[in-house]
Symmetry: C2
Subunit: 210 residues, 2 copies
Amino acid sequence: MDKQISQAVIRRLPRYYRYLGELLDDGVERISSNDLSKRMHVTASQIRQDLNNFGGFGQQGYGYNVAYLHDEIGNILGVNDTHNVIVIGAGNLGQAIAGYVKFERVGFKIIGLFDVNPELKGKMVRDLPVQMLEELPDFVKNNNVEIAALTLPKQNAKSTALKLVSLGVHAIWNFAHVDLDDIPDVVIENVHLSDSLMQLSYNITQHKNK
Amino acid sequence: MDKQISQAVIRRLPRYYRYLGELLDDGVERISSNDLSKRMHVTASQIRQDLNNFGGFGQQGYGYNVAYLHDEIGNILGVNDTHNVIVIGAGNLGQAIAGYVKFERVGFKIIGLFDVNPELKGKMVRDLPVQMLEELPDFVKNNNVEIAALTLPKQNAKSTALKLVSLGVHAIWNFAHVDLDDIPDVVIENVHLSDSLMQLSYNITQHKNK
DNA sequence: TGTTGTTTGTTAAAATCTTGACATAGTTTT
DNA sequence: AAAACTATGTCAAGATTTTAACAAACAACA
C-alpha cells in the first residue's frame, strides 16, 4: 500500500484548491467533476482520477461537496496547519516574498528575515526587522522554523542551504538560480524565474511562427 | 513535418542552458551527454533525445561543443534576441521582478513600470519611473513591447490582460493568483508562487511520514 | 415507493514520455 | 594508415500519464 503519488498530480492540487476556494466564496455548495472540468479546462476524468488517489471525496449522483473537498485537499497539501517560514536574503525579492506570502496565505507565517548586509540590520520590513545571518543559529534554535525561503545570490545558496539543514531546517523554497540537489534529508522546491521567462520566450517564438 | 515539441521538453531546456553557461564560464570546451547527465542528475538518453528534437548538435566520438550548444539552445529559446518587457504593478513583487530580470538576463529588457496608485507616480525604481496605467496605451504604441509581467492583485489581472492584448501585447508573464486562460491570441506563462509553496508543503508532509 | 436521471469510482485503452540498446560515424592512439 | 575507442542519433521497449467508458450508487421526482 502507500502508493507514491506522482508529482504531476501534486502540481495540480493547488489549482483545484484555488478553484474550490473561489466556489466557496461564491457560495456554491456542490459541484460535479464535469462542471469543474469546464471551468478549469481539464477533463472530468482527470479530476476524478486525481482525487481518487487520496480517497473517495464525492458521492454518486450528487458530486462533490465544495466545502468538504476544499478542506480535504487543504489537509492533503498540509495548508490547514501553520508553517513558520524564514526568508534568507532581504533584497527586493526577499521583501516581496515576505509580503506576498503574508498576504496570500494563511497557513504560512513569516517569522524572520535575514541578510548579510550590515546596512540592512534592523530595517523594518512590514513588522519584521532584518537580522544578521550570524543570528540565524540562535533564532532557529528558539523558534520552530519549518521552511526557509532562499532569495539570495546563487553563489551563497548552496552553503546557506547546507547550514540551514545542519541547523534542522529541512524544507527550502529556493529562488536562487542554482540547483540544490545532492543535499540529503531536505525537501526542495525550486522557483526558477529565469527558466519561466525562457519558457515564455520559447512559446512566443512558436506562437509567431504559426 | 514540424512536429510539436512537448512542454516537458521545453521545461528542461532552460536547465540545459544554465548548465552549459556554467561550463562555458569554467572554460570547458566539450562535453558528452554522459558527463552532463552525471552533473545534472538526469539520464544521458534523455539529454540526447531532448536535443535531437531540434537537430543534431553533437558529433559521434566527440560529444557536444559547449559554446555551440549553448548558443543553439539560446536560439531555440529565443533568448539571443532582445525582448522588451513592461511590468504592471509596482508593488514589492513588481519592483523585485524588474530588478531580478535586469540582473539575471540579458535578452530581456525592462522598459516600463506601471501602477494605478497615484502616490507611486514618478517614483524611481532603479532607472525607471513608475507610470500611471492611463499612460499605458501611448507607451505601448510608441515602444515595441513584447512581454507584460503582471504583478497585481488578482481582481485586476484579467481586465488588464485583456487591455494589453487589445493594445497588441501578446505575451503575459502572470504572477497574479488567477488563471488567464480563455484569452485568445496570447501566450501566457504563469508563476503561481502560492501553488509552489503548497507543493513544498505537501512534500514536507510526505518527507515526515517516511 | 418506484422510476428516471445523474455522477462517481474504477477499469481498461490510448497517448505520451522516458529509458535502454546499439549501429554508425567520428576521434584518438599507435 | 589501421586499430581501438568513444559517443552520438535513433529505434524500440518500458513506464507513466491521460482519457474514455461504464457499472454501481445515490439523488430527484413523480
